[in-house]
């Protein structure tokens, strides 16, 4: 994944959330974004996932710039997968139907082809016997894993995960992180926003610290989390790592 972001600005009304983000990665499989709440991580993720258009600036993946019109962005979104903090499953459909919906209605598979494709992943991630249930009958961990599968079964070029474990208790968090770790070992590219620093250290090729609307640090995980010179970054990590 070669991501290039140059001068990305995002505003919501009078508030400027991203104030000129510059970031370049070369051949990175797993990029993790960390930083304080309100610092702009999720806003940035939504931009690179093609959900929002920045007020200014350029974003490109592997040399291809992101479209700026809704139709172009929709086409882009069909090639990637996004996972949200609040699971965002469709509550009126079973887990299985949640998986089949994008395959059938967006990617043109027949229902039989779609069912065949999801069978393997469901079994591999131990969700096959839960797939017929509606989201309300699933645990938080199961819901999030179904949500990840929904993003995965369309065979995306890369995944975007926005704090996928922040709404989960420690046991389910471990369940979901294990799944993401397995995806990494399968070679799936992803950009992950998380507060799980231990996981970030293990799984990230590069970490970018987003604070005050800018990239305050960027590099290998050890460098950013443990040995960063920038005082705001050091202060953030010393506070949260002291807690755990």
């Amino acid at each position: 994944m070669n991501l290039v972001m140059h001068g990305v600005v995002q505003r919501f009304g009078a508030v400027t959330v991203l104030d000129g983000v510059d970031l370049v990665t070369h051949d990175v499989e797993a990029l993790v974004l960390v930083g304080p709440s309100g610092g702009g991580k999720s806003t940035l993720l939504r931009i690179v996932a093609g959900l929002d258009v920045p007020a200014a600036g350029r974003v490109s993946f592997d040399g291809e710039p992101l479209p700026r019109d809704e139709q172009g962005l929709r086409g882009y979104r069909r090639t990637v997968g996004t996972v949200f903090q609040a699971f965002n499953l469709f509550p009126h459909l079973s887990g299985l139907d949640n998986l089949l919906l994008p395959l059938v209605h967006v990617h043109g598979l027949t229902e039989a082809e779609a069912r065949a494709r999801v069978q393997g992943p469901l079994e591999r991630f131990r969700l096959a016997e839960h797939a017929h249930k509606r989201p309300a009958e699933l645990s938080g961990g199961q819901k999030q894993r179904i949500a990840i599968l929904r993003a995965l079964v369309v065979q995306p070029r890369r995944l975007f995960l926005d704090e996928p474990t922040s709404a989960l208790d420690p046991e389910m968090t471990a369940e979901v992180l294990e799944m993401i770790g397995e995806l990494k070992s399968q070679g799936i590219q992803f950009v992950l926003v998380t507060h799980e620093m231990g996981f970030a250290r293990r799984v990230a090729d590069e970490v970018a610290f987003i604070g005050e609307g800018r990239v305050l640090a960027h590099g290998p995980p050890g460098e950013v989390i443990d040995h960063c010179a920038e005082p705001r970054v050091r202060g953030f990590f010393s506070r949260i790592l002291a807690e755990s």
């Binding site: 929709r74 979104r77 069909r78 965002n88 499953l89 009126h92 919906l101 209605h105 967006v106 009958e137």
Partner: protein
């Protein structure tokens, strides 16, 4: 005690109270006189059924369209819908029927009072439906729209596959209530001389001077339409329920 038994007991107590009240009124009953006009009653009942059914369908279409217009970003589109809803909901149906038939319809040249009656009834109910639908659409969390966009659904697909299935379940009770009101409101069409059920009862009363014998069957007749409607609605709610 089973629910069915409890309902029966309450209905029987209610009927007994009414019967007791009626026996205290000492005037003689004239059921034979009213029975002679049963064809008139049946015909009126048929007209009420037909008019209600037609207005029901039309008002759902009008209400749905208006609800989408209320959510439009085009200022003029939203304004048309908003003025329509406020005007209709803020004035009595009686006034709308009188002005609609004697002023507007004759100006436009539509003579058929049945067509005008159905149209005016549909416009009346449509305004209430619009607000019910708009509330239902607004109650769907933004996360659902986010998820639909993220998997690459077009706005129309997202409405059809994600938003509407959820919104329909939300508004079903309120819509059923509106349908029941519509059936009863159709009785007001008597003021533009549509020969529906209530007008039939009024005419039989003026022929026979037997008020209670004319109006009790009227109440029973409306119950015969509204009770199945309510039961249907409750069945649909149970059938399509999902936990959240």
């Amino acid at each position: 005690m089973s629910r069915w038994l409890a309902h029966c007991i309450v209905v029987l107590v209610f009927v007994a109270l009414i019967a007791a009240a009626l026996t205290r009124i000492d005037s003689p009953w004239n059921w034979q006189g009213v029975w002679a006009y049963r064809a008139k009653f049946l015909q009126g009942f048929g007209v009420t059924l037909a008019v209600s059914a037609a207005a029901l369908v039309a008002s759902t279409v009008i209400g749905g369209t208006a609800a989408l217009m209320l959510g439009s970003r085009h200022v003029l589109v939203e304004a048309v819908a908003r003025v329509y809803v406020e005007l209709i909901r803020g004035t009595p149906l009686l006034v709308q029927l009188l002005i609609g038939f004697y002023v507007v319809a004759s100006a436009v040249g539509i003579q058929n009072r049945y067509v005008v009656g159905v149209l005016l009834l549909a416009l009346f109910s449509g305004a209430y439906m619009a607000e019910i639908f708009r509330g239902g659409l607004a109650a769907i969390p933004q996360t659902q729209r986010d998820a639909a966009r993220a998997i690459g659904l077009t706005p129309w697909q997202s409405l059809r596959l994600v938003i509407l299935p959820q919104a329909v379940r939300l508004v079903l009770p309120a819509v059923a209530g509106q349908f029941v009101s519509l059936v009863k409101d159709s009785s007001l069409l008597s003021v533009i001389a549509v020969s529906e059920f209530t007008l039939a009862a009024q005419e039989v009363n003026s022929f026979t001077y037997s008020t209670l014998e004319s109006y009790l069957p009227l109440a029973a007749g409306y119950l015969a339409i509204t009770l199945p409607l309510s039961a249907l609605s409750r069945w649909l709610e149970r059938r399509f329920r999902y936990e959240t």
